[in-house]
């Protein structure tokens, strides 16, 4: 039908052609550099006569005067005008618009352009992403956007990342923004199984976004203010990051293969200047006869590769892109690696005259992890890193030598094994149907599932672990499965009026999040082989799990309440009442085995709406509202309501603004309320009972391999008052551009007030659980200013030079809080049991230090006092500059954080002067001979953390190719990461994680405490990118 029509039109066109100056028909193809461009607009200048290109980029326009001019335009591309001059075929290739302001920005449930955005939205697209070794999507945009602080918790491959948008708003474990991947909001909770403390302290979670191959990402939008995030309601308080993956849209009809491969060379950037063998003996240390550089022993230089192959095709009615990625990254500490295998497909097709658009995106990934004995909470005897710093350099590097009560790094390396694997699938299917030009509806179905298994084993040869692992061996197996389903329906209505536009959206969303798994612990294996131990615990669990059913936990072994009964198989059931049964079993080859299971589902149901109204293309209004219902709250507080409103005024469209001077001038005002329930956890508002012990699994294994007596525990109390944490945000922004947007910039002011703070406070005694979540009166205020500037310094055919600066200032304060001061920032190490260095107190910033003062004569106060200093940088800056000349390009990218203090706990715990001799130490400590009168936490160890880092420096060459060859493009690049660090901080790196350190504070996070961080490597990457 359509084709017939087209043909007749063409015939008609050919016919009327002869009518010369009379109206004629023009047709042709609009394309961009990579192929046909569907949806481009073609208009006869000065008239309303226009059309859009079809999916093959073709257009046909009737009634075109022979002397008319056609205007071709498309979002993100420079408009082009072509005089008809009697031509009947006009093919046009549009150039991407140099000005960033026309860039498409993905926002919640839609898209806009920078020009038309009413909220504070920053978009970073693939070409601006950070290069080098990238193990997680957040690293792509680190330092690229004002007001977004991104810190990788350590240099361990796959380590967690903390991302804060406009400051820290909550005092709980989870302060991350919401991540939305191709329309599916994903959970911030870990998808890799957490580790158990089997004697070395606990370790941090893996980054849940590791599964996404950074090479598949087209762009990342960061929604910063409430008018942009309120459409995500209860999950928008910490900002929203929308990740859009690459599609085959720009690939052309012939298909396009792309292959990239990177070779990364990594090494430790800075080690400590420890005493050598001779210096150690001179300082009074014992000479054990050996000679080992322990840092050299655990660190290594590594070569890793990252390879990606993709195929993309735009076949007219749709497009498809498929990728396969394989990366293997070795950490700079022995026994560390991350292997990632990913496959991804992104397919889009249009049916029924393009009225129905179907999209399918799916990722499958497998991550294999190996981790060393490194922990953030290791105590006086420390982990592998601590041992490498304190160990006697005259101790020989033999795994069998005891350094008790201290630990021998060679022993820890040889007899500890920590392997994890995680499979994840994330897919979404969307159908969008245009009922009329104005009205469309969309259904989006998302499914996200993962399964993860982590096995930690200490062999019986381990030395100086006091939990019974010595001589027995101890192993923990943790399984975690997650399943997250999304159903979303949205209806869109857009209407153009004479001098205004209306765009309205209503939607419904349902999402559930299930987490289930087992924590399994075993001790006493009768074998010394780590792999055998790992197999034994895994098969013992598989052999026993189905003998019984309906249990929460079970244990096999001698129970300490009935040791006379010998080995038993006791099953702890929950239904209909908690009860204990026993079962028969055929012996398992483990002295004691315990299994604890969990299985819970959170649900979120939402209704939302947005209206955009544009008047005279000058005045832009946006209003949104979302009602979120969560299964984490009960009674009247189940639903939270989150409205927002924004207004933008394009001043440069006004007559009174000289558009010679201002090519862009836009004022933005917004207000909104968003919520937060992250970190609250499951079912905290009602009475729930489980088999359990305080802060531990239901059944533990003591050093003598007996299983603890079971008991029930109320894990949560009825708290119908529990409600959403709320953040109100007010923002004012100004976008400006000069000289035809050669210099552009934005400046934003904001104030965020978080109230009804959800805090895990000590429960009112007597209470069965030590902590309980409460909404605390108090307001966390974050206010600040963000500035972004972009300048094309030189812009000509051969040479292009650009500089980009972003800067953010954020002030954080807890006000109107009359609760108890809460100790936070627990530190670890010898002589530091139960020591805290930070405090949550009214009138101060979060992460304010609470330390003993030390005066010039090194006299130390007896008691700590609240300091002015805190661990939050008030200033973050990023500066990048890019230059290209002919086929060469180069870039430099610096980041910096300023005005914050780091607590050097590594120095406190390991390099205090009193330890000289008993443990290794720094030459500088010996030389200075300076020690305060006590090694208790004090301002002596508090240092300014300000730094500037040369994050990346890269140089690239696009090899010129003949257009006939098989290769379409070939690019070579060399990228260095973490090449230079400018700081006065005495430790290796002041950029330390802002994260939760589990401790006896109920999960209050701490910041800027430097203790045995896995060092960030310095890497050099050689990259090859081929398109064919």
């Amino acid at each position: 039908m359509k084709i017939t029509l087209l043909k007749s039109l063409l015939l008609l066109g050919a016919f009327v052609c002869f009518a010369a100056v009379q109206a004629q028909t023009v047709s042709g193809t609009v394309s961009d550099s990579s192929g046909p461009l569907p949806g481009a607009s073609v208009v006869v200048k000065g008239t309303s006569n226009g059309t859009q290109t079809d999916f093959d980029g073709n257009y046909t326009l009737n009634d075109v005067a022979g002397d008319a001019t056609l205007v071709f335009s498309y979002i993100g591309f420079a408009s082009q005008e072509v005089s008809v001059n009697g031509q009947t075929t006009i093919n046009v290739t549009l150039q991407e618009d140099a000005t960033a302001l026309d860039e498409v920005v993905i926002i919640g449930y839609g898209q806009t352009t920078v020009k038309d955005a009413t909220g504070a939205v920053a978009s970073v697209s693939a070409e601006d992403f950070n290069g080098g070794v990238i193990s997680s999507p957040e690293q792509l945009i680190q330092g690229k956007t004002a007001g977004v602080q991104i810190t990788q918790t350590s240099g361990e491959p796959g380590a967690g990342i903390t991302l804060r948008i406009r400051g820290t708003g909550s005092v709980r474990a989870n302060n991350s923004p919401l991540f939305v991947i191709d329309g599916v909001p994903v959970t911030n909770e870990a998808v890799s199984a957490s580790g158990s403390d089997i004697g070395a302290g606990s370790s941090g979670p893996r980054n849940p976004l590791n599964f996404l191959n950074p090479n598949d990402i087209e762009s990342m939008s960061i929604l910063k203010d409430a008018s942009a995030t309120a459409i995500y309601g209860s999950r928008g308080a910490n900002g929203v990051v929308i990740i859009t993956t690459k599609s085959g849209k720009g690939a052309g009809v012939n298909g396009q293969w792309n292959f990239t491969t990177n070779l990364n060379i990594a090494e430790v950037r800075e080690t400590y200047d420890l005493l050598t063998t001779e210096e150690f003996i001179d300082a009074g240390g014992a000479n054990l006869g050996g000679a080992t550089d322990w840092q050299d022993f655990i660190f290594r230089s590594t070569a890793s590769t990252d390879n990606n192959l993709s195929y993309a095709l735009n076949y007219g009615k749709g497009n498809v892109r498929a990728t396969f990625g394989y990366a293997k990254q070795f950490g700079i500490i022995e026994d560390t690696e991350l292997e990632r295998i990913t496959g991804r497909i992104n397919a889009n097709h249009r049916f029924f005259d393009d009225k129905l658009r179907v999209g399918l995106q799916a990722t499958v990934s497998r991550i294999n992890d190996q981790a060393p004995f490194v922990s953030r909470t290791s105590g006086s005897t420390g982990d592998l890193l601590a041992a490498s710093l304190y160990s006697n350099p005259t101790l020989a590097a033999s795994p069998s030598l005891s350094a008790a009560p201290d630990r021998n790094p060679a022993n820890l390396l040889a007899f500890y094994q920590d392997l994890a694997n995680t499979n994840r699938f994330l897919g979404n299917l969307s159908l969008e149907y245009s009922f009329t030009d104005e009205f469309s509806a969309k259904v989006n179905l998302g499914y996200d599932t993962s399964e993860s298994e982590r096995t930690q084993v200490v062999g019986p040869q381990i030395i100086a672990l006091n939990n019974g692992a010595e001589n027995n061996g101890r192993a923990a197996l943790n399984n975690l499965e997650t399943e997250n389903r999304l159903v979303e329906v949205t209806f869109n209505y857009s209407k153009e009026f004479e001098n205004s536009n209306l765009d309205a959206l209503v939607g419904y969303s349902f999402q559930d999040f299930n987490r289930s798994g087992q924590n399994i612990l075993g001790q006493g294996f009768g074998t010394k082989n780590l792999n055998e131990i790992s197999n034994v615990i895994s098969s013992s669990f598989e052999d026993t799990r189905n003998i019984v059913s309906g249990y929460q936990a079970y244990g096999i072994g001698v129970f300490e309440d009935q040791p006379d009964l010998g080995s038993q198989f006791r099953v702890l059931n929950l239904s209909p009442q908690p009860n204990i049964t026993t079962a028969d079993f055929n012996g398992i080859p483990i002295d004691a085995l315990t299994v604890d299971t969990f299985d819970f589902t959170d649900e979120l149901q939402s209704f939302f709406a947005r209206v955009n109204y544009t008047l005279k293309d000058k005045y832009l209004f946006t209003a949104t509202v979302r009602a979120d219902g969560s299964s984490r709250f009960g009674g009247d507080n189940q639903y939270g309501y989150f409205p927002s409103a924004a207004f933008a005024w394009k001043l440069n469209e006004e007559d009174f603004i000289n558009d010679e001077a201002f090519s862009t001038l836009k004022l933005r005002l917004s207000w909104g309320i968003t919520g937060n329930q992250d970190g609250l956890g499951y079912g905290q508002f009602l009475n729930r009972t489980r088999w359990g012990r305080l802060n531990a699994d239901a059944l533990g294994i003591s050093a003598n391999s007996q299983i603890t007596a079971p008991a029930t525990l109320e894990v949560a109390f009825a708290n119908p008052e529990l409600k959403w944490e709320e953040t109100a945000q007010y923002a004012l922004g100004l976008d400006f551009g000069f000289s035809n947007d050669r210099l552009t910039g934005t400046i934003d002011f904001y104030r965020r007030e978080t109230s009804d703070i959800l805090l895990n406070l000590p429960a009112v005694q007597p209470a069965t659980a030590p902590f309980a979540f409460q909404n605390v009166d108090g307001v966390i205020v974050n206010q600040g200013v963000e500035i972004g500037l972009d300048y094309d310094i030189v812009q000509n055919d051969q040479f292009y030079w650009n500089a980009n600066l972003n800067f953010a200032y954020n002030q954080n304060e807890l006000t109107d809080y009359d609760g108890p001061d809460i100790l936070a920032g627990q530190v670890y190490g010898q002589g530091l049991s139960n020591a805290f260095v930070q405090i949550l107190t009214n009138g101060s910033s979060l992460f304010t230090y609470n330390l003993r003062n030390v005066d010039q004569d090194l006299n130390v106060d007896t008691d700590p006092s609240i300091q002015d200093e805190n661990g939050l940088p008030t200033m973050n800056a990023g500066f990048s500059t890019t230059a290209s000349y002919k086929n060469w390009d180069a870039s430099l990218f610096f980041t910096g954080q300023f005005d914050f203090h780091v607590y050097n706990n590594t120095a406190n715990a390991l390099f205090a002067l009193p330890q000289v001799g008993s443990r290794n130490n720094l030459q500088s400590v010996i030389d200075s001979g300076v020690a305060p009168s006590s090694q208790n936490p004090s301002t002596f160890f508090l240092e300014k953390g300000d730094f500037v880092r040369l994050q990346t420096a890269s140089i690239g060459y696009n090899v010129p190719l003949s257009s006939e060859g098989a290769l379409k493009s070939l690019r070579l690049s060399l990228t260095g990461q973490n090449l230079l660090l400018i700081t006065d901080y005495s430790g290796p790196d002041p950029e330390v994680s802002t994260t939760d350190i589990p401790g006896s504070t109920g999960g209050i996070p701490s910041a800027a405490i430097d203790y045995l961080a896995y060092p960030r490597p310095r890497t050099v990457t050689l990259g090859v990118n081929v398109t064919f």
């Binding site: 008790a404 929950l574 299985d599 729930r688 949560a716 007597p766 030590p770 007896t862 001799g917």
Partner: protein
């Protein structure tokens, strides 16, 4: 087109399958109840109470032990190098300069209160299921544990929160004080005595790791002996008579003072005539925390001691014997123990003495021990005095490493090993001394009783016994057994100055309540001075 609309309608209907959930969570992971519905198994819950009392900060060197021992003239924990600095905790306790956020205070408060509520859950009539054993005895054990925890809370804070588990959790716990709190504890103990087993001295030691009639009577006597302190009054004759009656009842169960030469055997895991109640708590912290790094147990603890706690010279001087040494045959009384010298050091005793370790220490083969190489390998001579508590310059290292007399009752090489789980909580000599003190407070003469004890312990007899003698005798007998703070307070000596501690004011006799509780529970009032 029709086909497509059909297809579309179907598709847009899919969400309806999911839509409009009631957002209720399912009990897949835990049991969801409206209120308390009874515990699952009374037997294992009671075992859990036993273990909670034996573990955590009720059983190790922190919390309860630290607050009742290090706050007295029995122990000081100097910072040695960086070891035992622990954010100033130990010195704050010793100097009685603690603040409400002190870790030991918040932990002891929370853990004692968790005993009371978990015991209340067991005692509740709703808890009717037990996997084995006699539920009445188990509930009586829970009553004893609740009384024990409430008694400590009363003793240390004077305000005892009580949560009625049948009320919603949002209900603010009541707070029992003074006579009401005492009555409540007494009622629990009387009820417990009815159902608890009668275990005599001759019964197996394993029967004494859980509460018995004798244990409940011991606590009843202890409560009445201290009652006037809690009420801010003077000793009442009727209360003292309760002390005497209960001690007599314990005596009637066959408990008696250990024979001469058997004093340290009381703290071994096998049976003796004195132990009334013991906890399966780790003996390691009671042993190794005081011994030096180079005093070790080859093959079991090669890393040696933790070099922490030491006693004060003035406390050591309470005992008969020479002031500078404590070697065999120095003429010390039995309870002061012995430091092995080359004449007695052997593989069995590891060269490690018992009681009070002063002066040169020896290896098991009789070689004199040295301190660690890094402090110059000075001879391991435990000094009488602890002259300073904190590091000021590298020269202090050797002084701090060796300073102070070490004091302990649990030898590492006993049956069950150095990390055996056997710590004596109540024993007959304590009851015996309580009776002597009650008689004294009723105006009687305790001399005969005190001399009976002293004779058993190889000490010379006293002419007369006054209050100071009673306190000193309790110190000599009960050191390291968590009674010193209570004893000093009862005899009005807790606030005086002693080594590295200035005199303090009377507010220090009671601990501050953790601030979070004061703010959240309006029935609690912060104790004066905090």
């Amino acid at each position: 087109m029709k086909r497509s609309i059909k297809f579309l309608s179907l598709f847009f209907l899919i969400p309806l399958i999911f839509s409009c959930t009631d957002l209720e969570i399912e009990p897949t992971d835990s049991l969801i109840t409206d209120g308390f519905a009874g515990v699952a198994d009374v037997q294992s819950e009671v075992t859990n109470l036993t273990n909670t009392i034996a573990g955590g900060d009720l059983g190790n060197q922190n919390g309860l032990f630290a607050l009742n021992e290090v706050s007295s003239d029995e122990y000081i924990v100097p910072t040695r190098g960086t070891d035992w600095g622990d954010n100033g905790r130990w010195l704050a306790i010793h100097r009685q300069t603690w603040a409400p956020d002190l870790f030991d205070i918040t932990q002891a408060w929370q853990q004692l209160n968790s005993i009371t509520i978990n015991a209340t859950r067991v005692i509740s009539p709703k808890s009717t299921v037990t996997a084995g054993g006699d539920i009445n005895i188990q509930k009586a054990q829970a009553r004893f544990y609740r009384a024990w925890a409430m008694n400590w809370i009363l003793d240390m804070w004077r305000q005892v929160p009580y949560r009625d588990i049948d009320l919603p959790n949002s209900a603010i716990p009541a707070v029992l004080t003074g006579q009401v709190a005492i009555d409540s504890i007494v009622a629990d103990l009387n009820a417990a005595i009815t159902d608890l087993p009668s275990v005599s001295a001759g019964n197996g030691i394993d029967m004494k790791s859980t509460p018995t009639k004798a244990a409940a009577r011991h606590l009843l006597a202890k409560l009445h002996l201290n009652k006037h302190v809690y009420l801010g009054s003077s000793p009442d004759a009727a209360d003292m008579q309760v002390v005497i009656d209960n001690v007599d009842a314990i005596t009637a169960d066959g408990y008696e003072l250990a024979a001469p030469g058997d004093f340290f055997d009381i703290f071994r895991p096998s049976n003796d005539v004195e132990t009334i109640w013991w906890s399966p708590a780790d003996a390691g912290p009671k042993t190794w925390l005081t011994l030096h790094y180079n005093q070790n147990f080859p093959g079991f603890n090669d890393g040696g001691g933790w070099n922490g706690f030491t006693t004060l010279a003035e406390f050591y001087d309470l005992f008969e014997g020479p002031s500078e040494t404590n070697y065999p045959g120095d003429g010390q009384e039995e309870r002061r123990g012995v430091v092995h010298d080359p004449s007695t050091a052997n593989e069995d005793n590891l060269g490690i003495g018992l009681g009070f370790l002063i002066n040169q220490q020896y290896e098991q083969d009789g070689t004199p021990l040295d301190a660690r190489d890094n402090v110059g390998g000075v001879p391991l001579v435990f000094t009488r005095e602890t002259e300073q508590a904190e590091f000021t310059s590298p020269a202090d290292n050797s002084t701090l490493e060796t300073s102070g007399i070490r004091m302990f009752k649990y030898h590492p090489n006993e049956e069950g090993g150095d990390r055996r789980r056997h710590i004596v909580r109540y024993r007959y000599a304590d009851a015996f001394l309580m009776k002597a003190e009650a008689m004294f407070r009723m105006g009687g003469d305790a001399t005969a009783m005190i001399n009976e004890l002293r004779t058993r312990r190889g000490a010379s007899v006293l002419g007369t016994v006054d209050a100071a003698d009673l306190l000193a005798e309790r110190g000599r007998e009960m050191y390291q057994e968590q009674t010193r703070r209570q004893d000093l307070i009862r005899f009005g000596q807790f606030l005086r100055a002693w080594n590295l501690k200035d005199a303090t004011d009377e507010t220090r006799q009671i601990f501050p309540i953790p601030i979070a509780d004061v703010l959240a529970n309006p029935n609690l009032t912060q104790n004066p001075g905090y």
